[in-house]
């Protein structure tokens, strides 16, 4: 399971994607993924906020993660 990173989260992790095997345990939901990221990378907790997108849509904490989902971390957006 691959997690795509953007913006500041790419800088924090030091690469443009992350494999869940890099985390302590495999997250089953968006909420678990957020907790794992905060634990593995304390710099994430200093961000204004960050969201998770599953298959190109913003996903709430309850959303389950499946093996073939496209998962991306969305730090605070700043387009325009």
């Amino acid at each position: 399971m691959e997690i795509i990173l953007f913006g500041i989260t790419k800088d924090i992790v030091g690469k443009s994607s992350l494999n869940v095997s890099d985390l302590n345990q495999k997250p089953r939901s968006v909420g678990e993924l957020i907790s794992s990221l905060n634990a593995a990378y304390p710099e994430f907790t200093k961000l204004s906020s960050f969201a998770v997108a599953v298959n190109g849509e913003y996903a709430s904490q309850e959303v389950d993660l499946k093996e073939n989902d496209e998962i991306a971390i969305i730090p605070p957006v700043s387009g325009g």
């Binding site: 795509i4 953007f6 913006g7 500041i8 800088d11 200093k46 961000l47 204004s48 997108a53 190109g56 849509e57 991306a72 969305i74 730090p75 605070p76 957006v77 700043s78 387009g79 325009g80």
Partner: protein
């Protein structure tokens, strides 16, 4: 409404938006162009670098246009954002709307740029002389 133009591109050509929005049923065209300014909090900015989650950004841009089209009677819409390194004065985003009367295009244009800044997964990094900062990343 005609099929909207939604794009993420390397370089924006601001000259072509008039032709894209020109429409025999429209009495007005509104265009917002976002550009690179040379300061933030009194500090000189050298350039901006934009990054996008392209597939999702296009979907979110389409949602904003759908929402605007429900609120106002629009004829044509262009929503185009740039990625990559942009220098001072260069265009980074163009939002354009044409409608029968001006109220709809003024209001829709404002709504679309404001919402784009809140929901579309695009990020900008401000490059200063001796540092760079991802905008809005930290409180």
């Amino acid at each position: 409404m005609n099929e909207p133009i939604i794009e993420i591109v390397e370089n924006i050509d601001t000259a072509k938006v008039y032709t894209e929005l020109s429409d025999s049923k429209s009495g007005g065209i509104c265009v917002f162009v976002g550009t690179v300014r040379d300061f933030t909090n009194n500090e000189p900015v050298i350039s901006l670098e934009f990054e996008a989650y392209k597939s999702m950004a296009i979907k979110e841009m389409a949602k904003i246009i759908d929402q605007a089209a429900e609120k106002w009677p629009l004829n044509r819409v262009v929503m185009r954002h740039a990625v990559g390194l942009k220098k001072v004065k260069e265009p980074v985003v163009v939002i354009g709307v044409s409608s029968a009367h001006r109220e709809a295009c003024f209001e829709a244009c404002r709504y679309m740029i404001d919402t784009l800044k809140e929901t579309v997964p695009i990020w900008k990094k401000e490059m200063f002389k001796d540092k760079s900062v991802w905008v809005s990343a930290h409180p």
